[in-house]
Subunit: 208 residues, 2 copies
């Protein structure tokens, strides 16, 4: 990326972060471009240099969140001493911790997922961000004999689609229906990956 | 449904069928409300009694297609002499035949799936239409010892989501990437359902 492109990308990211705060404080519908100009100190022309619409900011926010989580995933993937099941369990724990810590991330995801117009773009963006690290994890599991999955990238993409659309449904209030949904998804993942050491997965807190 | 509601629903269906033809002949973007008024003989007020926007007509078209296919599915499900694997293979064959016969159905699905705004609604509508018959098929397979799947309805919903989003990607031009995608999806389904008689599935034409 050239220096100019990098500056452009960084500035877009900064503006999106400020707008995200406004969306969370005032609500997405109640935040207008004028509010964003005020908070960022940009002129109207300056703002439209970076974003065409308010909806584009939302996608930028989601992309930033996805990149952040994807960086964490890459880091865990690089840890040599963990086998594939340990890495799965570490992913799950970190994801849960961060969703606890960062309620605002969860908030903005649900908010956006209510906006039909951008939902499918957002889902594709998230799948794109996570399928590759997930595929590497599947390859590791195959090498270690812990998984037996074919076509790792394509399989990762399918599973990511289900994890993401299920996460976007909003908070789980533990009804029987939701428990069955969670159980069905966990079964599907375990069977598709061909995970053999089910006891370790169960001990790690996966509802099977 | 009361008689008035039934008449309303039937009239909506008729208007949608006429509009569908226009969309396919002229293209969705190039068809405007005036064209639809002309073809249906409705006044503007008459039209808006049935539909708020052009996009609502699209959803009605998709709903009609989904109901038609879902009726076929129910009929196959009712055939006592077929076991669950025979029913799976019959579904697949009929779906392929009808997609061959009715290129316009395929055309309208791809067209709509390019319209971001309605894509996610359409997907939910199709999942809703097919998850129940698919769940009945899973239950039959479980009873017959041909499948071993838990939570049939939730599992059917997950698998339907993947089949539908994959179908909405458009025509398969048989690249290696697409072959792997198809293989990964078939694997996922076979493993999740716990299908044991793989030979019959292979002979039936499933790429495994």
């Amino acid at each position: 990326m050239s220096k100019t492109n990098k500056n452009f990308a960084n500035r877009r990211r900064e503006i999106a972060a400020i707008a995200e705060q406004l969306f969370l404080e005032k609500g997405y519908e109640n935040t207008n471009i004028t509010d964003i100009l005020e908070a960022t100190g940009l002129s109207k022309g300056g703002f439209y240099h970076y974003f065409g619409t308010k909806e584009e900011i939302i996608l930028e926010c989601i992309q930033n969140i996805a990149e952040e989580l994807s960086t964490i995933a890459e880091k865990i993937l690089g840890e040599q001493q963990l086998d594939a099941i340990d890495k799965c369990l570490t992913f799950m724990k970190i994801r849960d911790d961060r969703l606890q810590d960062k309620q605002e991330i969860v908030g903005i995801m649900w908010m956006v997922s209510k906006h039909d117009l951008y939902q499918s773009k957002m889902i594709e963006l998230l799948i794109e961000a996570f399928a590759k690290p997930y595929a590497q994890l599947i390859e590791q599991g195959n090498r270690e004999g812990l998984f037996a999955a074919e076509c790792p990238l394509e399989t990762a993409t399918l599973i990511m689609r289900l994890i993401i659309t299920s996460a976007l449904k909003g908070p789980n209030n533990n009804s029987d229906k939701e428990k069955n949904e969670e159980k069905a998804l966990n079964h599907l993942i375990i069977r598709t990956l061909g995970i053999t050491q089910l006891d370790r997965v169960r001990q790690g807190g996966l509802h099977v």
